[in-house]
């Protein structure tokens, strides 16, 4: 491999898009040629800088989009003939009369089934239904089990127990990060409740969405002195992949310079690659007269 060829393939090498053999040849060439090694470093620096041009969509935008899409699709569904709306696709070939009969069976059997009547379902209206089971019997009749989803509005203030319970549930809704952000935002004012702080800590450490984790971290700010919260913040600092979150975590942790902080920061220096965080860590360790050595 010569330099000209190496430079030509450099971008693909950095993107990991070369085949096995050319990649080997490139690595061989880098070990022999200082100039191409420099070019490689330059290309990598450019990649790192380009990384910073990526913008992440605001978390609230996602939930806005989802809400909007849902309402448009629902409006479309309402324009469909009624028997199509109520029945899953495999029954669409049916004529309205047959569909009505099927529905009647469904509702009838649903009425026979024991229905828990409590505050939870009393005012519930059926908004969707799907067939779960069809069981023909010997006499030519059929048993059909419908699963119905009810939609219910609950109004109240976040400091009411039942509202808070629902918000805590929404904060763990796996399919909707926007919903999780919104509920954490409302729970932020309820952090005197232990269960809320637990939920926030869990979101901070385990939520897959960085926007949600950031929201949880903001809510926990007033508790940055508490041992448990400090422990969670240290975990974020050492393990979270978002440099934005790590930056926030270090800023909070170093406001209170407790003894255990030194160990965390020294461990951090061993692997942290973000310049800003390294710089802050170094400075705090120096101020605390602790060793900055990483070995």
């Amino acid at each position: 491999m010569n330099c000209e060829k190496a430079r030509e393939q450099l971008p693909l090498y950095v993107y990991g898009e070369l085949e096995f053999t050319p990649e080997e040849e490139m690595e061989q060439h880098f070990s022999e040629c200082g100039e191409c090694r420099e070019a490689l470093e330059r290309e990598r620096r450019m990649h790192a800088a380009l990384e910073a041009t990526a913008v992440s969509a605001p978390a609230a935008l996602l939930s806005e989009c989802r809400r909007e899409l849902r309402s448009v699709i629902r409006a479309k569904a309402e324009r469909r003939p009624w028997w199509r709306r109520w029945l899953p696709g495999e029954f669409h070939w049916m004529q309205p009369a047959a569909a009505a009969a099927l529905l009647a069976v469904g509702f009838f059997s649903a009425r026979l089934a024991p229905v828990k009547v409590g505050a939870e379902t009393r005012n519930g209206e059926v908004t969707a239904s799907r067939v779960r089971l069809i069981e023909p019997d010997r006499n030519g009749a059929v048993r059909i089990v419908l699963e119905e989803t009810r939609q219910r509005d609950v109004f109240g203030r976040p400091d009411e127990d039942r509202v808070r319970r629902l918000l805590l549930r929404a904060a763990q809704e796996p399919a909707d990060a926007g919903l999780r952000v919104e509920s954490l935002d409302l729970l932020k004012a309820e952090t005197t409740a232990r269960e809320v702080r637990e939920a926030l800590k869990q979101a901070l450490l385990e939520d897959p969405n960085p926007g949600v984790r950031m929201k949880a971290l903001e809510a926990l700010k007033p508790y940055a002195e508490q041992a448990e919260v400090r422990h969670a913040l240290s975990q974020v600092l050492l393990k979270d992949e978002s440099s934005g979150l790590r930056t926030q975590a270090i800023d909070l942790l170093i406001q209170h310079r407790t003894g255990d902080l030194v160990g965390v920061l020294q461990e951090l220096m061993r692997h942290e690659e973000n310049d800003y965080i390294r710089l802050r860590t170094q400075r705090v360790l120096q101020e605390m007269k602790a060793s900055v050595e990483t070995f």
Binding site: A54, S56, C65, L69, I73, E90, G244, T247
Partner: protein
């Protein structure tokens, strides 16, 4: 939990698609939630405007909803979806290139500003680390990105920020791996030349 479906859930995805094809809107919604974060990220990065990204999100998923019945599993669902999204973004970027001069200025509280500038500012506040990157360099890079052709920009985005392989990108753009490779080549060359001694 969130994000793209893993390899082991492919059969679940097939089931979801089949259910959605039969008109099950709940299954459709699950399908949307598996992919919409990446869809929004691609759109937002390519068009750099909240409102336009939102329009593209809606339009893309409504097209999927409308045409899902005709989806025959000839390619993966995600390739099909990304093809719809990138085509919408490309159309949008081409139109914007034409009306660029009169239209990138937006009204803000502090008077008239360039649309890109306002996005960049909001982002800078959101991520403290980014404040460190010299503002000049950042502006320079933003300008260079704007200078790429819409297609170069799309390839660049998908390879660099979405981590898609060139073969997949080629498929999404309805072209060959080779063509996608050339596109990425030109994009990095332009960026490198434009950055000169900055890096």
């Amino acid at each position: 939990m969130a994000g793209r479906l893993g390899r082991d859930t492919v059969s679940d995805e097939t089931e979801l698609i089949r259910a959605a094809q039969k008109g099950d809107d709940e299954a459709f919604e699950q399908l949307v939630y598996a992919y919409d974060q990446s869809v929004l990220r691609i759109a937002f990065n390519l068009v750099r405007s909240r409102e336009d990204a939102r329009d593209i999100y809606q339009e893309a998923f409504l097209r999927v909803h409308k045409n899902l019945r005709t989806f025959r599993f000839d390619c993966s669902f995600h390739t099909w979806l990304y093809r719809i999204v990138t085509n919408l973004c490309l159309d949008h970027m081409r139109k914007r290139k034409v009306r660029k001069e009169e239209d990138t200025v937006v009204e803000t509280e502090e008077g008239r500003k360039d649309r890109l500038e306002t996005v960049a500012e909001k982002e800078a506040v959101a991520d403290p680390q980014r404040r460190l990157l010299s503002l000049e360099l950042k502006e320079r890079m933003e300008a260079l990105l704007e200078g790429l052709t819409p297609r170069e920009r799309a390839v660049f985005q998908m390879r660099h920020h979405e981590g898609l392989r060139l073969r997949a990108i080629g498929e999404i753009l309805g072209t060959t791996e080779e063509a996608a490779k050339n596109c990425l080549f030109r994009a990095t060359q332009k960026m490198r030349a434009g950055l000169g001694d900055w890096i």
